[in-house]
Symmetry: C2
Subunit: 343 residues, 2 copies
């Protein structure tokens, strides 16, 4: 009230703690003590304060609190996107864990690899008071963003790759890709082709694991087919693969692409799994109801997000860098994979 009257702004600045104190007939710190519960307040006064708060519809000003506290109960998430299954699920895990710990999540998408744009986007995110940052290091842009973060700020990365200086929550993509490749080889396929999604670094864990498994088995290592994130691209690559007679098994960088590949093979008359086996990556909910149902490597993205937040919380509270955290994905065998047809 006093504020609104004083300034000409139409943006009503809501009641402040001083207004509550005046209405309740107590001092400002007493109101603060009632709200935070930091110090006992005599019951009678507490009631008066609570009544005044309710009457005025008072809400503590977060900015003022953050200013004195030195940090906000908020974290920033830098990510390459929000829509793809992996991103969205990891985000879900982070948000859940954060909310339970009383933190709010600010999300900023890095949608360009141009340094200047990355820089201004990072600045935008850090212009707000945050306790720490989680970087979803699934693509190249996020990696660059990670390097632009100022020292002294608590930072955690979450990804499928190897560590890189900051505390890391990891899904072991390399082991997972090896496992899937070995499974296909064990079915009798002479080799396994790979359709790769955009990678975070020079080489993605998925590509590395696939290649290693082939080399260990002494199998030929075919050239990688590079895809983007769009299932339609997977579809086109599937059509290409269909034209190559010798292709009998394909490991795809994610389930969305795998479903596109299956469609491309299907349209060119190659049956899955009779002619070609297809294995995806991620455990997308739709993989289970695809036709044929997609064999995939299930990843616990939600758990990844949760672990990333726990790491960050540890960093913020205990100061000492926590243990990195690693989880190994699980192969789920469905209909899209089987032994090669005898010819």
């Amino acid at each position: 009230m006093s504020n609104a009257a004083r300034r000409g702004r139409v943006t009503t600045r809501g009641p402040a703690i001083t207004d509550v104190a005046r209405v309740a007939g107590v001092s400002v710190p007493t109101v603060s003590r009632v709200i935070t519960g930091s110090t006992p307040v005599r019951a009678e006064k507490r009631e008066r304060v609570l009544a005044a708060i309710a009457q005025l519809g008072y809400r503590p000003n977060g900015a003022a609190r953050a200013l004195v506290a030195g940090h906000q109960k908020a974290i920033a998430v830098l990510t390459g996107g929000t829509t793809r299954y992996g991103y969205a699920s990891t985000l879900q895990g982070i948000e859940e864990a954060a909310r339970l710990a009383g933190y709010i999540v600010m999300i900023t998408v890095i949608d360009s690899e141009e340094p200047a744009l990355i820089s201004s986007t990072v600045d935008l995110a850090l212009a707000h008071p945050v306790a720490g940052v989680i970087v979803l290091k699934f693509d190249a842009a996020s990696v660059k963003a990670l390097h632009q973060l100022p020292a002294g700020l608590p930072v955690v990365a979450a990804s499928g790759g190897r560590s890189s200086g900051v505390p890391h929550a990891v899904l072991d993509d390399t082991a997972a890709a090896s496992q899937a490749t070995e499974y296909l080889l064990s079915l009798g396929h002479r080799t396994v082709h790979h359709v790769a999604i955009p990678a975070a670094g020079r080489r993605s864990g998925r590509v590395v694991g696939w290649r290693k498994a082939l080399e260990r088995a002494g199998a030929e290592v075919p050239e990688v087919l590079q895809s983007d994130w769009d299932p339609i691209t997977g579809y086109r690559l599937g059509q290409q693969l269909a034209r190559r007679e010798r292709v009998t098994a394909v490991l795809c960088g994610n389930d969305e692409i795998a479903m596109g590949v299956m469609r491309g093979l299907h349209e060119q008359g190659r049956r899955v799994p009779d002619d070609v086996s297809v294995v995806g990556f991620d455990g997308h909910p739709l993989a289970a109801v695809a036709t044929p149902a997609l064999t995939t490597v299930e990843q616990d993205f939600v758990g990844l997000g949760r672990r990333a937040f726990d790491l960050l919380a540890g960093l913020v509270n205990d100061q000492h860098p926590p243990q990195n955290s690693l989880a190994t994905p699980r192969l789920v065998i469905r209909e899209s994979s089987g032994p090669p047809s005898v010819r």
Copy 2:
């Protein structure tokens, strides 16, 4: 430096504007003027200030800025989830628009319908300084959250339903469902069954539009099959539908459920579209590569998010409530729908 030395806290409080002023040999307001560009500063001093900023790695404190400004360049998004296609895409649109306007997005998931939990979640979100709130009103929990928001706070809703007091960005679900239903009837189907997703209010626009179209055509209105968000549930309902001989056309509440339904029908030996036509909703990227490719009602969720933010920005800046915004979805015909088989 001075701060870190003064307090025992390990959390280094980074350099403040006073440190920059001291190093640069100018007053604090001058530093502020250099940063904000609000007032010209003599070139020589400006250089010194910029040098000091770079040297110290100074970053303006967002909390202090928000405190004096009276509000933060941030908005809160209340949503029922982040992973489903509609939610994630709308979020993407909001984030993009917000980022371009220099706003950051705080996201809070309402994952329970229990009033007490909703209340504490809303409180968590509003404990931080935000310029306004966008509610993704796709489900019942978000609607309840919307009603808990304090008056005086700029609020915008985004949904597929009808308005409800606050400015609204809308996708016309009702018209879209009618269009899809009319399309199926025009193919010669005697009626159209509906598998519904969880609704925001008592009746969802999708159900209403479907029913209206049937009634207008004088067709029988079958009982609605209620689904949750999991494609597996769609799969089970598809199996159920397969057992009913008279079912020849199914409109599903979203594409994920539709893909589950197709799978369920397929497993029970009913061919899509020869025996049963299936139409989805949303325009999920995977609908295009499903087998058969799914006919669907494409929704511009990203645009919805963008419009919701624009509405909120207008509300925050111009004070006067902006026009609501409505977009009509578009039917995309693919392989999963066709005329009923003659018997």
